[in-house]
């Protein structure tokens, strides 16, 4: 394992217990930082708007990303399209802190993901289950987030993916050593990673929840289900009072088992983002990239 890869996994460890917020302007980035975000995701349009606008969705303008890098001291992440290694090269060139190879953007390659081992900059990737997570890790991802369904404000898919991921881990842990080879075959991943999950009882990298978090209760739900932190995309800046909601979600992630506190945090937050139910979605972003 290269020294840089180790450092990249360790940066994700520093983000644990935190909330990563989608922002589209330096002003929003500052609001996010003041509210207690542990990192921001710089993008031109938040997922709810990408969904509404339709068309091809690409990496953000580097100038816009730079203006956000200048606005805050916390790490700045940005998205490239699945398989678009040139967008990734550009993001590395502007010294982004983390690249999200993301299903939220239109995929650039319907077969291959970016070979992330060729980069020094860290990558986070989405996954719906253990197999997908380990495939991304073997390609060089140093952080995973469960996919959920971005831009919906509907938590059901985030819950489904986190439960599936954890069930997959529990299964691998419970297998006999001589059964791990077959499990690697079934999961379509390298044996060494399956062995590591078997021995350590967890993913080899930090795992956040994403895709559909809209309330402090949603965030705490994902933490109680085993997430190590939370991405909030459209949920904050599509809501009535972004500042207050952002701060409340941050506190709910820290004290995710304290129902009394979360009750207080959830009171008087104003309008949550208007959600779209799973059944009403035409485009399932989570289906992009397997």
């Amino acid at each position: 394992m290269s020294g840089q890869y180790q450092l990249n996994k360790e940066l994700a460890q520093m983000l644990k217990g935190g909330v990563i917020m989608d922002v589209t302007t330096p002003e929003q980035a500052r609001i996010a930082q003041e509210a207690g975000a542990c990192a921001v995701m710089a993008l031109e349009r938040i997922p709810a708007d990408i969904r509404a606008a339709g068309g091809v969705s690409r990496m953000s303008d580097p100038q816009m990303i730079r203006s956000i890098q200048d606005a805050v001291s916390i790490p700045v992440m940005a998205k490239c399209r699945i398989g678009h290694f040139v967008e990734a090269q550009i993001l590395e060139a502007i010294e982004i802190d983390y690249i999200d190879e993301s299903e939220v953007l239109s995929p650039a390659d319907d077969v291959y993901h970016v070979d992330k081992t060729q980069f020094r900059v860290p990558f986070v990737c989405g996954a719906r289950d253990l197999g997908e997570a380990l495939r991304r890790i073997s390609e060089g991802a140093s952080m995973i987030r469960t996919k959920g369904e971005p831009g919906t404000g509907d938590i059901v898919q985030a819950v489904r993916h986190m439960r599936k991921m954890n069930a997959g881990i529990r299964k691998v842990v419970s297998l006999r050593e001589d059964e791990l080879f077959e499990e690697a075959k079934q999961l379509q991943v390298p044996y060494a990673l399956v062995k590591q999950v078997h021995d350590e009882g967890r993913l080899p990298v930090v795992n956040f929840a994403a895709g559909g978090v809209a309330t402090p209760a949603d965030a705490a739900l994902m933490m109680q289900l085993g997430a190590e932190g939370v991405f909030v995309g459209s949920g904050i800046f599509k809501s009535g009072d972004p500042k207050k909601r952002a701060a409340a979600i941050v506190q709910a992630v820290t004290n995710y088992k304290d129902a009394k506190l979360i009750a207080d945090l959830s009171a008087g937050l104003g309008e949550a983002m208007v959600g779209i139910n799973e059944q009403e979605i035409e485009l399932l972003m989570a289906e992009r990239g397997k």
Binding site: M14, G17, S73, P75, V76, T254
Partner: protein
């Protein structure tokens, strides 16, 4: 010996497993009621200092912890933790606890691509040092002992009961920094 680890955000779990492996009773501090019983030492972990500062105030932990530190409770602070202790920050932002007479430059080595690992001396002992989007000490007051200098920059300091490192001893198998901290508690 009981050591409380500030567990608002960051790599507090790594500190706790390290302390546990050294046979120490370590517990998480997430809210005010967590510090109602007496404890012998405090750890301020790595993570994002802006997040921790915000939550310290929001959860009513700021004043009680600041008083404990000022009254001599031994503290180990790593990376973001060092920023929390610093009396002043080079970027002009308001300090958090401000109990240690140092000026700290945040993200001093640049963005993630500037993160690195090295072995250098801590209090004279070669020690593994991972620096992750790390700060360093730009200026240390007269009452501050410099324990590590890497590449001409001050990266570990001690002022009486406060021990601070710009790197992450919690991410290595090396116990040098912890041994110093535990000595501060027991002596």
């Amino acid at each position: 010996m009981r050591i409380g680890v500030l567990a608002l955000q960051g790599d507090f779990a790594e500190h706790i497993s390290k302390l546990t492996s050294l046979g120490i009773d370590a517990f998480e501090i997430r809210k005010l009621s967590d510090i109602s019983n007496r404890f012998d030492g405090l750890v301020l972990p790595g993570g994002e200092s802006t997040v921790m500062k915000k939550l310290l105030h929001a959860l009513g932990l700021f004043n009680p912890l600041k008083n404990l530190i000022s009254d001599g409770l031994p503290v180990l602070a790593t990376c973001a933790g060092m920023i929390l202790l610093a009396k002043s920050l080079e970027d002009g932002e308001a300090p958090c606890f401000g109990t240690m007479d140092i000026t700290v430059k945040r993200n001093a080595y640049g963005r993630q691509l500037g993160s690195f690992r090295c072995v250098d001396k801590f209090n004279g002992i070669p020690t593994e040092m991972p620096f992750i989007r790390a700060p360093y000490v730009k200026k240390a007051g007269k009452s501050v002992d410099v324990l590590s200098v890497h590449d001409n920059r001050i990266v570990a300091v001690r002022q009486q009961n406060q021990l601070a490192a710009a790197f992450h001893p919690e991410l290595t198998a090396d116990n040098t920094v912890y041994n110093t901290f535990i000595e501060m508690i027991t002596k």
